[in-house]
Amino acid sequence: MIQRERKEDPVVTMENVTFSYNGEPVLEGVNLSVERGDFVSIVGPNGGGKTTLVKLVLGLLEPLRGKIRLFGCPPASARHRVGYMPQHSQLDMMFPVNVTDVVSMGFLGKGGLFAFQRRVERDARVDDVLRKLDIADLRDRPFAGLSGGQRQRVLIARALATDPELLILDEPTSNVDPAHEGELFELLLWLNHRMTVVVVSHDIGFVSRYVRTVVCVNRRVVVHPTSEITGEIISEIYGSDVRMVRHDERSGGGECHV
């Protein structure tokens, strides 16, 4: 049976999804739907299952129970339409690649195995993406020698090189100083005009200022429009750790009142 995608299909749907690592439940009874063009933030405490949720959507993990659809299809067959930025702590910082090498990886998988792209052509496209992100001068720099913020941008460039309809970024603000955090979100807002954006974060502070939908993950999942985020909701997600995640003062309030 061929599943045809309808225009109004949500980008991501999860129905009653449960996942566990070695019998230890990580996510339970998750129901979720992400609409086309939305700007979503997935928030929750560390170890609450945010990255697991993303990996389920990408088909990198299989759910124990429940149904996941990406663009209306099983995740593994539609994930090439997603641009993904992993947490950069997952990468080996001693690996000998430069910025052009990393961004070129975004062009993989187009055409067959022997569809060689001319180097000049590829480099031109890499330049294109780097210029969009304002990092064209980093082109020949070793990836290992970049600052945290520069690395994030390079990994976003790689995700954009795949020409995605959905952009998923896992912790794009870790190791980035607050000044650059703002720039990063302006960039994501700009990208949001053309694609659905999902940002994973353990930091709820900036979320309220930029995103439209907040997905709260701590084993269970609760979805809120940003305007509904209240103190009770936050303490519900974070439990007794509320004091430690009071970012609203620094970020100037927004709609997030703790």
């Binding site: 993904y84 990468l91 690996f95 000998p96 690649v97 090498d101 990886m105 975004g106 993989l108 070793p142």
Partner: protein, 294 residues
């Protein structure tokens, strides 16, 4: 040293030895780049030691059944490939601890090899040359097989370079791009197996790891790109094997061990000079800062 160059013109065995070292350098420099950057040194060690099973079995079959076509080199290729696939499949699918599996294959291969050698009539001298290398025993026929293996490794790496790079750097991202990650991981292990076999001819089973990793590690100090690291690593492997051969010939020392000592000394030298340069730079910067403060 002049004696080595003079004899090189005279003796075929010396020419073969030199050619073996140079040819092995090509495949091993390239594979060493992957082994070091992907951090699969222990895995390569496991494959190297399991090669003894192939060497022993091939020799046994030749002596007992007169299978002349089954040269020890061919036996080594077969056993290395089997070990690579077994370790790869188990670590991909069996959810066992990878290093435990490697350790088991490592020792099992050696045990099988020792059993075959003990059952083979005649002297057990070969065991020493398998373990510690005997580059002076390489035959023209071996040389042709080595050249063929070289060609296989280089062609495969050139064809799949970008995919292998993506899989080594970020497996998950490669998978999302539709790259068959498991296939390329196994391919990488099989290439490693071929590289290991070539080096067994040069320095023997026990010392393979050093010659597979040291040149790449040295090269890593001079470049931040895998392709260049591999080319430099080929150059260093050739340099170490040739120097090792020349020194060992002049001083009447075992060639394999001498090569490893040369490589190890070079590695130490590079690390120390890097450290020294770093501290000189730091001191200069500190001094100039003090001057401006005054």
């Amino acid at each position: 040293m002049s004696e080595f160059i003079g004899d090189l013109a005279k003796y075929h065995f010396l020419q073969y030895a030199l050619a073996t070292g140079l040819l092995a350098s090509v495949a091993c420099g390239v594979i060493g780049g992957y082994v070091v950057t992907r951090r699969i040194t222990y895995l390569a060690g496991g494959i190297a030691h399991s090669v003894l099973a192939g060497l022993g079995a091939a020799r046994y079959c030749r002596v007992v059944y007169q299978w002349e076509w089954l040269t020890p080199l061919l036996g080594a290729v077969i056993s290395a490939l089997i070990a690579a696939v077994v370790i790869g499949l188990v670590s991909l699918y069996a959810r066992e601890r990878e290093d435990t599996v490697i350790g088991a294959v490592w020792a099992l291969g050696m045990a099988l090899g020792v059993l075959f050698i003990s059952r083979t009539p005649g002297y057990g001298e070969d065991l020493m040359s398998y373990l510690f290398g005997n580059i002076l025993m390489v035959s023209p026929r071996d040389l042709r097989i080595i050249a063929a293996l070289d060609l296989v490794v280089v062609v495969v790496v050139v064809l799949f370079y970008r995919r292998l790079l993506a899989v080594c750097f970020d497996e998950e991202f490669a998978r999302l791009r539709g790259v068959k990650v498991e296939f390329y991981f196994l391919l990488l292990l099989c290439l490693t197996a071929l590289g290991v076999v070539l080096l067994v001819m040069v320095v023997g089973i026990v010392m393979v790891i050093a010659l597979l990793t040291i040149p790449a590690a040295v090269a890593g100090n001079f470049t931040g790109r895998l392709s260049r690291l591999m080319m430099l690593s080929v150059f260093f492997t050739a340099l170490f094997t040739t120097t090792g051969l020349a020194v060992s010939y002049a001083a009447d020392l075992p060639a394999g061990a001498t090569t490893i000592i040369v490589a190890g000394a070079a590695y130490l030298f590079v690390l120390l000079s890097k450290r020294l340069l770093h501290s000189i730079k730091f001191r200069l910067a500190w001094q100039s800062k003090n001057i401006t403060l005054q």
